[in-house]
């Protein structure tokens, strides 16, 4: 089993749609102007949130976000054949790790029966 964080464009950058909760938590970033700036925010994100699994950064053209409709956050489980086994609803409302957990259990059950 592999876990990857896919860092995509910011949900609430300070120059677009800032949230007061982010200002309170001092998580204030303007939209990055290039890939280096995006990578720098991604690095802060991984460090400050203590993300334990590896993170990849979506390209500046947001190709992967567009393919997966990942913004602002979303969960996917891809099975061993490369097929989508679970797709959450779009975040923030649809982001439920416990649903992913169930899907993972289902995948294990399926694997043990085959």
């Amino acid at each position: 089993m592999a876990f990857y964080a896919v860092y995509i464009l910011e949900a609430h950058p300070s120059d677009i749609w800032q949230m007061q909760s982010n200002v309170r938590d001092k998580v204030v970033f303007a939209s990055p102007k290039n890939m280096e700036e995006r990578a720098s925010i991604a690095n802060s994100c991984v460090r400050k949130l203590g993300i334990k699994f590896p993170a990849v950064i979506d390209g500046f053209d947001n190709t992967v976000e567009k393919k997966y409709t990942g913004w602002p956050d979303r969960l996917y489980l891809i099975d061993k054949n490369g097929r989508v086994a679970y797709k959450s609803k779009p975040g923030p409302f649809g982001f439920h790790p416990e649903e992913l957990e169930k899907a993972l259990q289902g995948l294990h059950l399926h694997a043990s029966l085959n």
Binding site: Q18, P72, Y76
Partner: protein
């Protein structure tokens, strides 16, 4: 008196419904645009207006996406945040992969 007439209140309710429908149509249109365009729309919407939007239902529909469960996941190759290499999804055949999309804010 005019203000107490049934016609007055019918007019008020009809106008409110028309305004609300127009507002929801505009929100729906914005939800189908890029995240940046949607964000720029939403930052102009005053907070109290959020409460008259059936946000979750509209958002789930607008952002349903093109990938369905059971379909082949689109391949990608992206760089790791610490620049230690690239990750190609299709290189994981034989092993399940969890993808957690998100950002800092």
């Amino acid at each position: 008196m005019w203000i107490k007439s049934k016609r007055f209140w019918t007019t008020v309710v009809v106008c409110a419904l028309v305004a609300w429908t127009g507002f929801l149509l505009a929100v729906n249109r914005a939800m189908h645009k890029t995240p940046e365009e949607f964000g720029n729309f939403m930052k102009k919407v005053p907070m109290p207006a959020y409460f008259v939007i059936p946000f979750e239902t509209m958002w789930s529909r607008a952002r349903a996406g093109n990938i369905n469960v059971g379909e082949q996941a689109p391949d990608f190759s992206l760089e790791l945040h610490d620049k230690s290499g690239r990750v190609q999804l299709s290189s994981f055949r034989g092993k399940p992969v969890v993808l957690v999309f998100g950002s800092y804010t």
